[in-house]
């Protein structure tokens, strides 16, 4: 039986770390190959991690909310199976993480034959103490006073009655607990943070651990959509973008999201110059249209991607299924990637019109407001028309206002086709 690490899987090309969400198994539980043992979260998606082999979940090392680098162990599996990791990673194997062991300490030297003069203090021998050089008793700013003569060894004292056997049978010397030198604040912080001071390299005077020697307080990245949105939208703020609004005539129907989704995708297919991204100083066109659909979920905003929705006859069902799974947290990674534009519809909330930020590197985003009947001029009088104001946000590096206007004209055309 060997112990094999269960590692944080790499579930996308860009994934460098994942967050442990929950364990479905406990330490000591039997697991079967392919059985789900835990869930981890990437940027937006929770993924199930399966046991790579039959065995027993021996040790869990990552707790919920722990952020673990790809390839680092999250648990250890006791298994009879061989070579669990074969082919799992092409990268060099992750740094082995053995169970933390106390640093090997030189055991205290066997007690030397006791001299008549007592040692200054019978402290437990430590590595630090062993290295410490004799310190002058009281540092003075001026050596005005003559140093006291070194105390002469009191040879006259009789030796202890029972002579200490020298080179006696070498018994295993019990290793004294390590007392590392550390300032009180470092000790306190180490206890609070669960850090073993023996693992810290002291840089203070007299090999003392300073507070600054402790690893910097890890600010746990807030996991989940909020963190992703924060990161992406901060990047978005760096993109020169503008918004073009247009009041669109909408056909009677009802499933506006599907209607707009299809129209936006179709319009982008007609205007490939905007179905593109700014990369390396140039506009790079995409060979597919991917519409990221902004979905309001209990965990925050998710934007699963519909690939080429304009080519899909069963789009409405696909949208419903995607929205349902987004809200259930059951999206796949593939469904989270490949967006070339974003559609956000707040019409259902009664919003008339709004400005959506781009999700870089996407070059466009369409913000859809409320669809409602409006009084409009018709030949010979006034009439009612189903209208909706949309805002098209465009990366100005990729396209101009006229490009945006042309795209919106196509959206209008496709809506009423």
């Amino acid at each position: 039986m060997q112990e094999a690490p269960l590692v944080m899987p790499k579930m996308s090309m860009t994934m460098t770390e994942g967050t442990l969400v929950t364990w479905h198994k406990s330490e000591g539980d039997e697991v079967r190959a392919g059985e789900v043992v835990c869930e981890v979260a990437t940027d937006k998606v929770d993924m199930e991690v399966e046991a790579p082999a039959d065995g027993t979940l021996a040790r869990i090392v990552a707790q919920p909310d722990d952020v673990v680098a790809v390839g680092d162990p999250i648990a250890y599996l006791a298994t009879a199976a061989e070579d669990l990791l074969a082919g799992l990673f092409d990268a060099p194997p992750p740094e082995a993480v053995p169970a933390p062991e106390p640093e090997p300490q030189p055991g205290p030297a066997a007690p030397a034959p006791v001299a008549a003069v007592p040692e200054p203090a019978p402290t437990a021998p430590t590595r630090i103490a062993a290295e410490r050089e004799p310190v002058p008793a009281a540092p003075r700013r001026v050596g005005a006073e003559p140093a006291p003569a070194a105390p002469a060894p009191v040879a006259a004292e009789p030796a202890p009655a029972a002579p200490v056997p020298v080179a006696a049978v070498p018994e295993p010397v019990p290793v004294a607990p390590v007392r590392v030198a550390a300032v009180p604040a470092a000790r306190r912080a180490a206890v609070e943070r669960g850090i073993d001071l023996a693992t810290i390299t002291p840089t203070g005077p007299a090999a003392t651990i300073r507070l600054a020697d402790l690893p910097p307080l890890e600010v746990k990245p807030r996991r989940g959509p909020r963190a992703v949105i924060a990161r992406r939208m901060s990047a978005s703020a760096q993109v020169p973008q503008f918004v073009v609004y247009r009041d669109l005539e909408v056909p009677a129907g009802g499933d506006w999201t599907t209607v707009f989704l299809r129209a936006l995708a179709g319009a982008l297919r007609r205007h490939p110059e905007l179905n593109a991204e700014w990369a390396d100083g140039d506009v790079r066109r995409h060979d597919h249209v991917g519409v990221a659909l902004a979905v309001d979920t209990g965990r925050g905003l998710l934007a699963p991607v519909l690939r080429d929705p304009d080519l899909d006859d069963g789009l409405a069902d696909r949208v419903r299924d995607l929205v349902r799974r987004a809200r259930a947290g059951k999206l796949t990674l593939a469904e989270m990637s490949g967006g070339t534009t974003t559609l956000s519809n707040l019409g259902g909330f009664g919003v008339d019109a709004f400005h959506a930020l781009l999700s870089p590197p996407q070059a466009t985003a369409l913000a859809v407001g409320r669809v409602q009947e409006k009084v409009v001029p018709v030949p010979g009088g006034i009439g009612l028309s189903l209208r909706c104001t949309v805002g098209l946000t465009v990366d100005h590096r990729v396209g101009d206002g006229a490009d945006a206007a042309r795209l919106l004209a196509s959206v209008q055309e496709l809506l009423t086709l």
């Binding site: 001026v142 009180p184 604040a185 306190r188 203070g204 300073r210 507070l211 600054a212």
Partner: protein, 334 residues
């Protein structure tokens, strides 16, 4: 700001002491002064000045050169219901009066079960810096702070010189007020009203993030000067002046060290068995211990008699530059 606090004038430390004496004598006929040359001469450092002309020789009493006799007379007068204020020309000369101070004044209230009190004040110029050599330049506050029954005050500003002296005169038991010679000519705002301070209340002179400096006497102004230089170097320090060594108000010190994690204790007196050792131990015994991110450091006078040569005299006690260096070292290394 209270009305009393608004009514301040700029006085020198010496003038502030004189004003406190005059106000106390005006308010209470039992208050009288005695000491060598406090009358016509106006005091060795000019502190009593013209008081003899304002209050007369009965209340401003010149005495023979006999410190033991002066303090003995004061102890007796205090026991008899008077409120004597003794001036010893140099605090070094209290050595001559130690038996009366330590064995009589400090103990009578205790030994008589509280039936008698010794409401006596002993003022004495302390410290170095005036070229007065070894027998006129010592800082002996630790001697007195060590004796149960004595209160010890070290005013660092003109305002404190006045209000702490008023508090000392009000106190029913002996109080030693150690006035620094170098401060006598320094000016500062002094309240006009005769409102005493409270003995046992430290002053937080400045609050900083990196280091707590505790300083007494003339070292308070040097620490504040050093704090300015340190601030320019990006080191932000607190300066706390205990003002009363005994009773000691340790809480502000402990609280500040909990914040900063570092303590630099500065005194003019020699390091060995000095008062800052008491402060260090107090911090070490307090909840601040667990917050220490550096060893508690002391910056003190050398363990030498104060030299006469001005350069050596300066070198024997901490100067502002020494405080800057010690503080920088403490913050940068830890």
């Amino acid at each position: 700001m209270t009305a009393a606090a608004e009514q301040t004038r700029t006085l020198t430390y010496a003038e502030a002491v004189r004003e406190a004496l005059a106000q106390a004598m005006t308010a209470d006929e039992r208050v009288f002064l005695l000491g060598e040359d406090v009358g016509t001469y106006g005091g060795a450092f000019g502190v009593t000045g013209d008081l003899v002309h304002r209050f007369g020789e009965e209340r401003i009493r010149d005495t023979p050169i006999s410190e033991l006799g002066i303090v003995g007379a004061a102890v007796g007068a205090a026991l008899a219901g008077m409120r004597p204020v003794v001036e010893i020309q140099f605090s070094d000369f209290t050595a001559q009066a130690m038996d009366q101070i330590v064995n009589q004044a400090a103990k009578i209230h205790f030994m008589l079960g509280g039936a008698a009190t010794v409401p006596m004040v002993l003022r004495a110029p302390t410290g170095s810096g005036t070229g007065a050599a070894a027998q006129h330049s010592q800082s002996l506050e630790a001697w007195f702070a060590h004796v149960p029954g004595l209160k010890v005050v070290m005013p660092a500003t003109p305002a404190d010189a006045k209000t702490l002296l008023l508090a000392a005169i009000d106190d029913p038991n002996p109080v030693i007020v150690l006035e620094h010679k170098l401060l006598y000519k320094q000016s500062g705002p002094v309240p006009e009203a005769a409102t005493p301070a409270r003995l046992g209340e430290a002053a937080v002179r400045r609050t900083g993030a990196d280091l707590t400096i505790v300083a007494t006497g003339v070292m308070v102004s040097r620490a504040l000067e050093a704090a300015e230089q340190l601030a320019a170097d990006g080191i932000d320090v607190s300066v706390i002046d205990p003002r009363t060594l005994k009773p000691l108000d340790a809480q502000p010190i402990v609280d500040d060290v909990i914040r900063t994690g570092r303590a630099l204790l500065v005194q003019e007196a020699p390091k060995t068995a000095g008062f800052m050792a008491e402060i260090a131990a107090t911090i070490g015994e307090s909840p601040a211990f667990g917050h220490l991110r550096a060893p508690i450091a002391r910056l003190c006078g050398l363990d030498v008699p104060i030299p006469y040569a001005p350069q050596l005299e300066r070198a024997a006690v901490p100067q502002a530059g020494d405080i800057v260096r010690a503080a920088t070292d403490l913050v940068r290394r830890w």
